[in-house]
Amino acid sequence: MSAQHQELHEPSVVVRFAGDSGDGVQLMGTQFVSATALAGSDFATFPDYPAEIRAPAGTTFGVSAYQINLGAGPITTAGDKPQMLVAFNPAALKVSLPLIADGAAIIVNTTSFTKRGLSKAGYDEDPRSDGSLDGYQLIEVDITRLTLETVKPFGLSKSDAGRCKNFWALGLVQWMFGLSLAAIEQWINTKFARKELVREANLAALRAGNAYGETAALAAAVPQLDVHKARFEPGEYRGVRGGEALALGLAAAGELADRPIVFCSYPITPASPLLHQLARLGKLGVGVFQAEDEIAAVCAAIGASFGGAIGVTSSSGPGIALKTEAIGLAINTELPLLIIDSQRGGPSTGLPTKTEQSDLYQAVYGRNADAPLPVVAARSPSDCFDVAIEAARIALRHMTPVFVLTDGYLANAAEPWLIPDMSVYEPIEVNKLASKPADDVQTAVFERDPKTFGRPWVSPGTPELMHRIGGLEKDIQTGHISYEADNHQAMSQLRADKVLSVANFIPDQDVAVGPAEGAVAVVGWGSTYGALYQAVRRVARLNDRVSHIHIRHINPFPRNLGDLLGRFERIVVPEMNMGQLSTLLRDKLGVQVVPFNKVTGQPFLIQEVVDFVLAQLADVTGEESRPRIVPGEPG
């Protein structure tokens, strides 16, 4: 090709598609990801969609975006700054411009850059001509018009024809990355199997976009990007979103325990995808009950657990708050229960579609009275699978409700996943009553295992074992109601000891990056894993006295955590909240920490963590480590 032809040889590339809610940007993103995965790239994605279902077309608040980071990896975040943007309209350009890298390639759909389109986006001047795109590589393509021309022979309505533009654009992007169209064509064939015209039109649009890139005269203006293959461990892979992995993990927990899963939920953003996923997993012994409210959802889950199924309830922060009293009931009756909290920005309604990690207090401390329970947190989309199984294992072993913390980012983010081998998972044991009790059934049903404090799980329908449970305090020996002062003290201690005993069954805290001692430990939990992992790797190349520790078991902490943190001079705690893990570390371990808090509704950028950690490192060691960050490193 000509001298103008550019080739970017970088280990990873961050791409962002942005358009109206109705432009099919999310679909375009997921199809692109399938193709990159088949080509052997590592990837991570993050959809960024508006709270409104169909906001007015062309407005900035109606912009829906999908960001993908792909390349050699290891890739653990959707990337800080996109090097390529596809903007379907002026509003999408306006919203995305502050986010993208200097010099990024921007493909704009010029069809929508009309006076009206510009004004709806709040542009007084056309940004293409007023200099605001200087320093970027602008590629102007008349996407809508070219799409309409392509699909004209199929005689679709104007709106149906216009909807094909995402596939036209995808065809172009596929060419830029040298990716095959085959998988996408196959998807279109399946999806529109019964709609011949729509199928043919979308296929034509996809191929036309691809051919547009191929056309020599135009190719000069369009960069070609080389996707690096990742070095994956051999095995069978799939892509997975956090919501999917969590749903499959819950189903796996049911399989491993040989118990049905009764999932009781009330719709709420961003927790609803889990409800939708599980509603499709009936064959795996999952039953879904959409309750009348959050309280009914948790109560029905508790009722199901009483009945011998694994009761699961799920919500986001405001809904979890409503479930609080019932969670105390599950603690008091010593029943297993899983509470999935897909955290979002708050308080109150807050930022429903934006991500935050601000329910840690609610999970650990947020109930009336002394009501401890175990809390585990997922750190990546695929990790949700193992966390669900782990939570169920704890719930059944110790007969306790267990909190699972995830968030809006994890629920929707996707990554490649080495499909787990189910045969390596230990079955989940169920506490049974060894034999029919000689005397009082009530006493036998509350006879707890000395190591786990878990009682036998005895459900209605079991002959000869009729008993009563309830929210009133009960006698530590007999299981009958007791208002005795000393007994309540003993029972409160027992509930605390039970949760502490979980620490004897979980792995020691490991170190994700770096040595087990040093100057600075970057300690995180939940969905910040990817950003912290990359940030500490980058910093470690400059100064190897930094480590990344990521905590899955929030309550109780792993037994060695205090000892481990004691080997670092400074503990830095980046969180998407105002310092909740920081509080917990001070509270439980008595350590001093330096919080780094971000509550913008957006995940951490790697670079901002790098900057913060470098400053802390310099402060501790008294020496400056000059950042030498190469653009385009894996994110």
Binding site: V262, C264, A326, G471
Partner: protein, 331 residues
Amino acid sequence: MSAQLTARDYTTSQEVRWCPGCGDYAILKTMTRFLADVGAEREKTVFISGIGCSSRFPYYVETYGFHTIHGRAPAVATGLKLANPELDIWVVTGDGDGLSIGANHLLHALRRNISLKILLFNNEIYGLTKGQYSPTSRIGTKSPSSPGGSFDAPVSPGLYALGSGARFIARAIDVDRNGLAGVLDAAHRYEGGAFVEIFQNCIVYNEDVFDSFAGREHAAERQVHVRHGEPLVFGAGNSKGLRFDTATMALEVIDANERADEVLVHDETNATLAQLLLAMEAPAMPVALGVVYRVEDETFESAFYDNHPTRFKRTGTVADALRNTNTWTVT
């Protein structure tokens, strides 16, 4: 079925902690006797309650039991029923538990028609919290929280249930052993969600609040015991009857002997009649007791299982489900 069980076999060793003379004792006694009479399988019977005096009930019945939290018993019972539809589940609630804090769950349990037998002990007062007026208290009820008399308009449990879409509505008086046993039996045999209002006397905070129709001296004149297909008559020698006045669209009391052909015949499947009967209040009208409304309909639990792709059986494996998408192999 082993040897015939007696009421004693359905009674736990727990010391009953209601006030002496509380109507709950009579209900408990009738219930345990009823369970023995029908030979209820104890391991398949569950009593679930919320919070309040009535909600102590499960501790005293030798079956499975769950004393839950305030107002939520129908929700807990719903989850249990879905997990094991073979169970006979009774929900015991009160006017505060079921119609104030838990009214939402009551509504949804009834409109879904999940097979719970919901017994609402109505004493028109908050007993356990020491006598505040409740959502069924009549206007002017003097209580610690309404020293000058309450001014909240009360809700009618029966009409609430009907409006919620209940398919079975019945009423009984706590100490009317035969009437209550009959209603319990009908609720137990009914396939679907049953709502039973039991007028229950709170001897401490609201004594004799139902005396205007429940008192022995008023029973004949102010109670109409409804039976499907039979005339709606009451009073000494069944001398009075209920007639539908087409001019006022209301029920009126007529002389059942003189105008026998105008007396309404009870049709338990007629929701309009049910509404008229449930709305009657003493002393102006007799209070309707017995099975006021009963229609057949699909139950929620059977719909839940019918609509589940595998009738809630595990037929697939996670290993397969994990691969039920685009996969690729790295060598």
